[in-house]
Symmetry: C2
C-alpha cells in the first residue's frame, strides 16, 4: 500500500535532522524517469498560508501542471516565518532541481509541524542528497516516504487501488488542526494513468471536496494543507473509473486521518439523509460533526440525540424539526423530532448498548425533506487532545 504502487513513480523518505533524534522527516515523490509529467494540487484557503504553499501555488501556475515531483518535510511547518521562511521554501525546490534535475519551478514543496518557528534551512540540501541516493520504486520506499511526513500521527497513512488499466496510490498525514476545507494535512496521490493536466486538476478538486473537505477533528483550518496528484503517464488514458478509483484512495486516507485523531478513540460517521438539497444536508452534517458536545457524547458512547437535533436546528434555522429522526448504529432513538428510544424493543436496546461500544459510531439524521445525502467524518474529543495541545505543539 504505497505511492509507489503505480508504474513510473519513485519515492524516498529520509532523516534530514529537522526533527530531533534522526527520525524520518524529509520525503519525496516523483517520476522514475526523472522527467516532468502531469501534476495537480489543491491548497489551503487560509489567508495565513505557509511559505511552501505560496511557493507551490506559484510553481504549479508557472508549469501549467507539468511537474517532476514534490518534496515534503515534517517537524516544522515553515508557517508564519516571514521572508526567511519564504527563502527556505524556495531553497527546498532549488535543492531538488540541483540534485534531481530540471528547473526549481518543476517541484512542489510541502511542510508540516510547528508554526512560527524559524525553519532549519541548512538541513535541506544534505537531506535532498540523501533522497537522491535512496530513491526507489519498491513498496519499502513508498512506506518510508509515508513515515517521513508524520507529525503526531501514530501510524503512516497509505492506500492503493487498481483500476481498469491503471493504478492509484496515496499517502497522507493528519492528526489535528483538521477541519472543513482541508486540514493540517498533506497528501500525495499517484497514478500511472495518462491524463491531461486539466483532467488531473478537475478530478482532484472533485475528490478533495468529497473526502478531505468532509472531515473534521477540531474545526481548526491549517496554514499548510496541500493535496498533490502526480500522474506518470506510463499507461493508457483511463475511462471514467479513474475518478472513482481516485476517490476511493482519497476516502481511505481521509478515514485514516480521522481514525488517528490526536487523543481520539472513536470515528463518528455523521450521515444526513433526506435533505432537500446537498447544501442543506451538508450544513446539517457539518454542524453536527463540528459540535464539541456531540464529540463529548462520542467519547462517552452516549446516543444523545438531543444534542444532535440542537445542532441541526442551529445549522438550519428554517428546519421543520418535527420531521427529523435520528439513529445511532442503525437503531432509531428519535422520531418526529422527539425521543423514541423509550419505545425500543429489549433486543434493540441491547443492540444499541452493545454497538455504542464500537470504534465507529454511525449517526444517521433523516431530515425528511428530500433525497439528498451528505456524510462527514468526525472524531471524539479526548483528554489526550487537551494534553497534547495545552503547550506549543
Amino acid at each position: 500500500m504505497s505511492v509507489t504502487f503505480p508504474e513510473g513513480i519513485r519515492a524516498a523518505g529520509v532523516g534530514a535532522g529537522i526533527k530531533e533524534g534522526g527520525a524520518l522527516d524529509l520525503s519525496f515523490v516523483g517520476f522514475t524517469d526523472g522527467m516532468a509529467h502531469i501534476g495537480a494540487a489543491v491548497f489551503t484557503q487560509s489567508g495565513a498560508a505557509a511559505a511552501p504553499v505560496l511557493v507551490s501555488r506559484a510553481h504549479l501556475d508557472q508549469t501549467k501542471g507539468r511537474l517532476r515531483g514534490v518534496l515534503l518535510s515534517s517537524g516544522n511547518a515553515n508557517a508564519l516565518t516571514g521572508d526567511a521562511g519564504q527563502q527556505a521554501a524556495e531553497l527546498m525546490a532549488a535543492a531538488c532541481a540541483e540534485h534531481l534535475g530540471g528547473e526549481e519551478h518543476e517541484y512542489l514543496v510541502c511542510s508540516t509541524g510547528l508554526i512560527g518557528i524559524p525553519f532549519p534551512a541548512d538541513r535541506i540540501r544534505p537531506g535532498v542528497e540523501l533522497i537522491a541516493e535512496e530513491m526507489g520504486t519498491d513498496p519499502r520506499a513508498g512506506e518510508r516516504a509515508a513515515h517521513a511526513i508524520r507529525t503526531t500521527d501514530t501510524f503512516a497513512k497509505q492506500a492503493e487501488v487498481a483500476g481498469i488499466g491503471f493504478r492509484v496510490g496515496g499517502m497522507a498525514k493528519g492528526a489535528a488542526m483538521i477541519a472543513p476545507n482541508m486540514a493540517t494535512m498533506l497528501c500525495v496521490l499517484t497514478t500511472d494513468a495518462t491524463v491531461s493536466a486539466e483532467r488531473a486538476q478537475s478530478a482532484l478538486g472533485w475528490v478533495v471536496d468529497q473526502t478531505f473537505n468532509r472531515i473534521t477533528i477540531d474545526g481548526c483550518t491549517s496554514t499548510n494543507d496541500t493535496v498533490v496528484l502526480l500522474a506518470s503517464e506510463v499507461g493508457a488514458e483511463p475511462g471514467p473509473d479513474f475518478e472513482e478509483r481516485l476517490l476511493e484512495v482519497a476516502a481511505k486516507l481521509a478515514y485514516s486521518i480521522v481514525s488517528d485523531a490526536e487523543g481520539g478513540s472513536r470515528v463518528g460517521r455523521i450521515r444526513v439523509v433526506g435533505g432537500a438539497s446537498v447544501a442543506e444536508a451538508e450544513l446539517a452534517a457539518r454542524g453536527v460533526a463540528s459540535s464539541l458536545l456531540v464529540k463529548c457524547s462520542l467519547l462517552g458512547g452516549d446516543p444523545y440525540w438531543g444534542r444532535v437535533l440542537a445542532e441541526v436546528g442551529a445549522a438550519l434555522p428554517g428546519v421543520d424539526i418535527s420531521s427529523v429522526s435520528v439513529s445511532y448504529q442503525g437503531v432509531k432513538v428519535c422520531e418526529g423530532g422527539v425521543e423514541s428510544a423509550s419505545r425500543l424493543s429489549l433486543a434493540d436496546r441491547r443492540r444499541l448498548d452493545h454497538r455504542m461500544g464500537e470504534r465507529e459510531i454511525v449517526v444517521e439524521i433523516d431530515l425528511g425533506q428530500g433525497q439528498d445525502t451528505v456524510e462527514v467524518l468526525t472524531s471524539d474529543i479526548g483528554h489526550g487532545y487537551l494534553e497534547e495541545n495545552r503547550g506549543t505543539s
Copy 2:
C-alpha cells in the same frame, strides 16, 4: 445585586420538584403592583427552538411588549419534547395567570436543563402557588430567583447599577452550550425607568449584540436562549445613559457566564484592534475565540501566537498577515506576522511568564488595517468539560 434592585420589581425562587432533592428550580420576576408594564425579549435563532421560546415569542407579539412577568424553570429544558412540551410551556403561562392575575399571554416562560426529556408539567401549578406566597421585593427574593435558574452553574450570576434617576438589575445563567448568537443562557434584566416598548426592545437588541452574542464557550447554540427586559415604569424617562447602564449590567452578566464555563479555569479576552471594519474585526475575533487549539493554549497558559494567526488567516482569507501583530497580557510576541518573543527584554519575558498564570488572559490582535475594534470573551477548555458532557447532561 439583584433583579429586585430597581423600584417596582418583585421576584421569587422556589423548589417545585423539577430537580431532584428539593433544589430551587422555579423562578419568577414581575412587577410589584401585579399589573402589566413594559417588556422586551430576544430569543435563540435555532430552528429547533424549545417550546417555551415558541410560546414566549407568540406572547410578546400578542401583547406588543406589555407583560406581567416571566416564569423560568431549571432542570429540564422542555426542548424537543413535541406536543406535550408545547402544552407544558402553555401551562406555565396559564398557571401564572391563574395565581398572579391577568391573562396567560401577559407572561413569558423560559426553561433550561436537559434536552429531549418529557417535562414534569404536574410540578408547575403547585410551584407557582409557592411563588405567589413567597414573592418579595428585597434582595433576598432576587437572589433566590437567581439561584433557581442555575443548572451546572457554580454560582448565581447577578448584577446591578444605578443610572441618573433609574436603576438596572439583572440575573443570568450559563455554563455550556454557549456560543455566538446567545448561549444556553437565560437572562432577566430589570429597570424602574419609564421607557416605551419600542425603546426597550431596541435597547435590548443593541445590548445583546455586544454582550451575550460575543461570548463563546463551546460553539454550541442552544434551543432555549432567552434574554428578557422588564421595565416597571416607576421612575421618569431616562436619558441616553439608560442604554449604557443596561449594557454595563449585561456585560457583567456575560463575563460571569464565561468565567463560570463548565470545566473552565480561565477567561480569554480576545480583542481585535486595527480592523478595516467592525465586520472584519468580528470575524477574526470570533475565529480565534472559537478555536479549540487556542482554548487548549489558554488551558496551558501558553502564549502560542502561531495558532492565533492561523485562525486569523482561516477567518480572513484575504488578510495581509505581514501587517498583523499579537500581544498576550500586553506583551508583544508576534510582529509583522512573525514571532518577536525572542527579542523581548528579560523583564518583559518575566512579566509575560508571570501574567500567563492569571485567571484572565488578554489576547490582543492588531490587524494593522484601520480603526475598528471588537472584543469576544472565551474560556479555556478543560478536562472537566469533557467529563461533564460525555454522558447526557
